[in-house]
Symmetry: C2
Subunit: 361 residues, 2 copies
């Protein structure tokens, strides 16, 4: 039976990525060798890394605009630490928007390095919305925000205009919607949502902002060193980078971000319309901040939980339970999730409504 994978990440990737990457494990580029056993310095893998870096910038519309793309290891959580290490000045300060669990984790790490101003937080409301109307101290070394809050199902629709570097954690919505990416000076994203399997992190950096905080930085945490080494300062995570390249190639063929944005909008509209229409359900996040990637929703009556859970499991749906901080359900609709899978979920929600109303008669 076909599975409908709503996992919040690692998550569904295009079928052709699975097929091509499995093939490359048995015989990469018809070399008679596996992608897992070739040197990262081989001509074939250097070409993979170069293409992945160039294609990431191309898809974001950042080619020729002074940006560099890196595929690092360590996960986005390592960037929580690398960003202040590279940008925070001695006795400087950084400004952070606290819009969710991951934003909060980034704030915690920044505090190791210096004064960290939280310009606004929606924590008291269990992060059910994105804070707005905040002021950013003009003397901050940079401003950090999180574009999509995976756990709570909220997404930033507007980004501030500031006279300082803007750093954005786009782990869970990069490559999913059209934005003016040149507004940002550092964009980082763990691969395991819209870009590839777990094991690599894309970091896109406007090169001119580096080298200005007067600090010596340990080599592995120094963006400038990774740029100079063309993302091969040490052995990169070869397979995750390759599978990410395959995913970016799939997106490019599809028509890039404008094309996938239309599909993502259609999927989100389909599901949120049903959440709002169906009397058994309610959305968890503020309507104006709803994420097109992660839709969080709850049953109005928890007594319906066992029957709903049985129905979606029967339909081949997996990964739907919500994060423990929110409860209920979370439908993660990343780029590779087909709209057919959303229709299956919507059908199950309608089916539940019928079954419940029959019981009531």
């Amino acid at each position: 039976m076909k599975k409908h994978n709503y996992s919040a990440g690692p998550c569904i990737l295009p079928q052709e990525v699975f097929e091509k990457s499995a093939e490359a494990i048995l015989n990469f580029n018809n070399s008679g060798l596996s992608i897992l056993e070739i040197s990262h310095r081989s001509k074939d893998f250097v070409a993979v890394m170069d293409e992945a870096r160039a294609l990431a910038l191309d898809l974001l519309g950042l080619t020729g605009k002074g940006y560099q793309a890196l595929f690092l290891a360590g996960g986005a959580s390592l960037e929580f630490l690398m960003v202040p290490y590279n940008l925070m000045k001695e006795n400087g300060k950084a400004a952070y928007l606290d819009s969710g669990t991951w934003a909060s984790a980034a704030i915690k790490e920044a505090k190791f390095f210096g004064e960290t101003v939280v310009v606004a937080s929606s924590k008291e409301q269990n992060y059910n919305h994105v804070p707005k109307g905040y002021e950013v101290p003009a003397d901050a070394n940079y401003f950090h925000c999180t574009s999509n809050n995976t756990i709570f199902g909220t997404q930033m629709k507007e980004f501030p205009n500031l006279d300082m570097p803007i750093v954005c954690d786009m782990s869970s919505d990069i490559f999913s919607r059209v934005l003016d990416f040149s507004k940002f000076d550092i964009i980082y994203a763990g691969a395991q949502k819209n870009m590839g399997p777990a094991g690599t992190t894309l970091v896109v950096i406007k090169e001119e902002i580096l080298g200005k905080n007067g600090k010596t930085i340990p080599s592995m945490l120094d963006y400038a060193k990774h740029i100079k080494a063309e993302s091969m300062y040490n052995t990169p995570p070869v397979f995750p980078v390759y599978a990410s390249l395959l995913t970016l190639q799939w997106l490019k063929k599809l028509g890039g971000i404008p094309a996938i944005e239309k599909i993502n909008n259609a999927k989100a509209t389909l599901l949120y319309t049903e959440i709002d229409r169906n009397p058994l359900f309610k959305g968890a996040a503020a309507v104006e901040d709803r994420s097109n990637m992660n839709a969080t929703f709850l049953l109005n009556d928890e007594a319906h939980t066992p029957i709903f859970d049985a129905l979606w499991k029967e339909a081949g749906i997996s990964g739907l339970p919500g994060h423990r901080s929110v409860g209920g359900y979370r439908a993660s609709m990343y780029n590779a999730l087909p709209i057919e899978s959303v229709q299956v979920l919507v059908d199950v929600m309608k089916d539940l409504e019928k079954k419940v109303s029959k019981t009531r008669l």
Copy 2:
């Protein structure tokens, strides 16, 4: 044609690892989902991580001896930084043995954190041997060494007995030979030689040595945090960990380290015997320090280079050129390289001798 892969890392892995990991990309554990799209918190992947951690300790003979195994991201180069962050005290010092390029890179990172004493170095002799007869300052917070020097083809045969934590970078010879691993307090190794594909690093830690340097450590660099989170502090590199587990399972089935050590000794004996016998070649490293993993050797007469290069390429050998710091050739004979591949290389060396002597007549 069958390839004989002598790559220095990433390198050859067992054929069954390629086959099983390709299968898991198409359908993992018969779940209908790819290993690339499942949650790292899923029951199936938690089982992978738990088994990989337990099996690593089991193979090293460290089960029940107060050790924890972690599969981290970032590469062994990140450990160059994590080790001093976790072990070096305020105004403390660390002792390092400089036996090669990677040892030297570890020393460079330690210097960010405090006084770093190099107890001995073979740099002046282009690292052609492992320094011996050194003294380690009794007040050092720890001693760091590199068990195998991939680039220069040397290997430590003896390790000092010290009243301080001993940290060893075993990236290029872990799981290859019988050692009393309980002599070490931290062992780390990038996966991409004897353990799996690039993208994860095994760190084995004697838990009692942690938490003693009185420093606050950024979360992602804190071994104690990773241990508490059972190696899932953040999303781990799922596929590299899975492929590493498959490699460790292969080794366990084979009979563990004692069994592979015999095979590795036989391979090394076969090749070094030919290097010493064949008048056209000479070894690059001091005989007593020769590595069983990476054999470095040179042609006595560089004029024979084109014909030798043509011969080994014709025989299906790849990855044989030496690192630019040594020149000549490097045959990396990691665990998964079959002795048949070594025989093919030896035959090519003998063939060269015949061809050269014929030309002379």
